[in-house]
């Protein structure tokens, strides 16, 4: 009995099988209490603070406050959100802005991240540690710092940006980018790219380091070096990592709030030009200026964000990830 317990983990050895046969008539194995003990803390906190509130949000979105009482209204909140002109205009504006925010990250942040990682992972480069450390610095700063720092730098009052442009003779290009409706969102997205480029860089860098040297040496023997080595050998091998980065970017961007809130405030000015789903939800839930907060509508927006993220993640998991070719070394 005691011996059987000691060997439980190595279950598939023939010796064990024999032992099990010997044990069989005696009794059922005792409950392994350590399993629930190991699982319980994580399971309980995760369930109580994350899963139940997420379900609660969905539930709340199906109710409405009528004369101070929560009444079940089915999908009426969603109907208002998508059908009512005042709401739907704001909603589509936020969704469209959010999509643009994501597109810029995909087109600018991830290619730059891959480029930097590719350069860093080349063998003989010196000062690698310095570059890696410095380029990652913006990522560790908080949105508040990043937001205000850029707000000051781009401010026409202080004039750092115009005088810098003056040096390269492009002063005429300067406008208060954060204050103009047509530029503000793109500017914010680029600031966010500046901040987070370190993450794709690090992840791709790690992936590139895990490519075995033999493969690269074999490629070199066949005369595949430099840029063509990147396209033909490295890129196919890091595609799964690029997939992971894309989905992380997607989830992160459709939750964006902090940077926009700290630069433009809850109103996401100018004229809602930088409003994304996160700020829209915050404003709806807590209210602003003369509009009162509405938890039910706020939940409805959160539920839609939930659905959008779920769709995106499903497309990735079932449409993209399964088609990626994985190589085992």
């Amino acid at each position: 009995m005691i011996v059987g317990r000691t060997f439980r983990a190595a279950r598939f050895t023939p010796f064990n099988k024999l032992e099990k046969l010997m044990q069989k008539p005696i009794s059922k194995p005792p409950i392994r209490w350590h399993i629930p003990v190991f699982l319980a803390p994580a399971f309980l906190i995760y369930t109580a603070v994350m899963v139940i509130p997420l379900l609660g949000t969905i539930q709340l979105s199906l109710f409405s406050d009528i004369d101070g009482e929560q009444v079940f209204v089915g999908l009426a909140n969603f109907k208002t959100l998508l059908g009512d002109q005042h709401w739907s205009q704001q909603f589509w504006n936020a969704l469209l802005n959010n999509t643009w925010f994501f597109v810029i990250h995909m087109l600018v942040q991830n290619p730059i991240g891959i480029l930097l990682a590719a350069l860093l992972s080349s063998n003989k480069l010196r000062m690698k540690a310095f570059y890696r450390t410095s380029i990652f610095i913006p990522t560790i700063l908080s949105f508040v710092i990043v937001g205000f720092a850029w707000k000051l730098i781009l401010s026409p009052i202080w004039g750092v940006a115009p005088s810098m442009l003056d040096v390269i003779g492009l002063k005429s290009l300067f406008t208060p980018w954060l204050g103009k409706e047509e530029y503000a969102l793109t500017t914010l997205a680029l600031i966010s790219v500046w901040q987070f480029v370190g993450i794709p860089m690090m992840l791709i860098y790690a992936a590139m380091l895990s490519i075995p040297d033999e493969i690269l040496e074999a490629a070199e023997c066949d005369g595949v070096t430099g840029i063509s080595q990147f396209w033909k050998i490295k890129l196919p091998l890091i595609l799964p990592s690029i997939g992971i980065i894309s989905i992380l970017t997607f989830v992160g961007n459709f939750n964006a709030f902090d940077l926009i809130y700290s630069v433009q405030g809850a109103l996401a000015g100018p004229n809602f030009g930088t409003d994304v789903l996160g700020t829209f939800m915050f404003r709806t839930f807590f209210g602003f200026q003369l509009q009162l907060g509405d938890p039910n509508m706020g939940s409805a927006i959160a539920s839609i964000m939930f659905i959008i993220i779920l769709i995106g993640v499903s497309i990735y998991l079932f449409g993209i990830q399964t088609r990626l070719r994985r190589y085992q070394f």
């Binding site: 000691t6 983990a9 190595a10 279950r11 392994r32 350590h34 399993i35 190991f38 699982l39 803390p41 994580a42 399971f43 906190i45 995760y46 109580a48 603070v49 994350m50 139940i52 509130p53 997420l54 609660g56 949000t57 539930q59 480029l115 930097l116 350069l119 860093l120 080349s122 480069l125 570059y131 380029i135 990652f136 610095i137 913006p138 560790i140 700063l141 908080s142 508040v144 710092i145 205000f148 720092a149 202080w158 004039g159 750092v160 810098m164 480029v197 992840l203 790690a206 990592s241 989905i247 939750n255 709030f257 902090d258 809130y261 938890p295 939940s299 959160a302 539920s303 993220i309 779920l310």
Partner: protein, 285 residues
């Protein structure tokens, strides 16, 4: 002839190295420039800030006026302490509970193993922020609003899914022989976890620690919603509110930005070596 080929090959290699350095240096400048501008200007007098924003402070323009204003008015020490408590406490819980759950999932076969793993993994993809409305209601009901406990609980729940995922990948790589040897020697499952397994997954723990810590330290959303009171403000929220008050006092704004940047920067520079080791150890492939 062959010498010629060698020479062109060598010059091509040098050219490539120069190009790589040029790109990396350019990007490094872009990454560091804003931080640099903020920090140098925080040490200048108001006139110098506007007259020559890009020059280093010299004997004439040096001034600590901004720092004086900031340290007199804001309770930065308290905010910093709050941030530290919240981050360290949630980090400890994420690492400990995450490792425990990961150990259970990767070590034992039991009914519901796969299902539990999937259940915990959902949280990687769905941000906890979407549950804010209900979390706030829950915290109000349990009287935890404006306490650091509320933040710690939320951040623990937020960090656990990724921690369990990465750590269980790692734990699968630990040899069974070692653990069985421990079992033969009469170690309990708890001792095997604490004494044998935990030390072996240190690089994975470092990776998880960094990926958990940065968003917690920098979060504005939950402190703003769950704990906006003066005595529970985190440094991120404190800086946000504080900077807002001093919009026109450029010395104070720049000084408070620098004060918020420097501690994180120092911590990062101390730990950056471990961070790289952890990340490149193969945790995220």
């Amino acid at each position: 002839m062959s010498v010629d080929i060698q020479r062109t090959a060598r010059s091509q290699v040098t050219f490539r190295a120069i190009a790589a350095h040029a790109i990396l240096i350019t990007y490094t400048l872009i990454a560091l420039f804003p931080v640099f501008v903020i920090v140098i200007n925080s040490f200048k007098s108001r006139n110098a800030i506007f007259r020559e924003p890009l020059s280093l402070p010299n004997a004439e323009s040096f001034s600590l006026k901004g720092y004086e204003t900031v340290l007199k008015q804001g309770d930065f020490v308290l905010y910093f302490q709050n941030s530290l408590i919240v981050t360290v406490a949630s980090l400890t819980m994420v690492l400990l509970f995450g490792a425990m759950a990961a150990f259970a999932l990767s070590e034992y076969r039991f009914r519901g193993n796969l299902l539990t793993g999937l259940y915990l993994a959902i949280g990687i993809m769905i941000p906890i922020r979407l549950g804010t409305v209900a979390i706030l209601e829950m915290m109000v009901a349990s009287g935890l609003v404006n306490t650091l406990t509320a933040l710690i609980l939320v951040y623990t729940a937020q960090g656990l899914p990724l921690a369990v995922f990465i750590l269980s990948e790692f734990m699968q790589g630990i040899s069974d022989d070692l653990k069985n040897a421990g079992r033969i020697d009469g170690l309990t499952e708890y001792t095997i976890f604490g004494v044998l397994v935990l030390p072996l997954i240190r690089p994975a723990l470092a990776t998880v620690a960094v990926f958990t810590m940065i968003p917690i330290w920098n979060d504005l959303w939950f402190p703003l919603i769950l704990a906006p009171a003066e005595e529970t403000k985190t440094i991120t929220l404190g800086a946000q509110v504080f900077i807002g008050q001093f919009v026109t006092d450029w010395n104070a704004v720049l000084a408070s930005l620098s004060l918020a940047i420097i501690p994180v920067l120092v911590l990062y520079l101390i730990f950056s070596r471990q961070l790289i080791k952890g990340i490149t150890a193969g945790a995220v492939k």
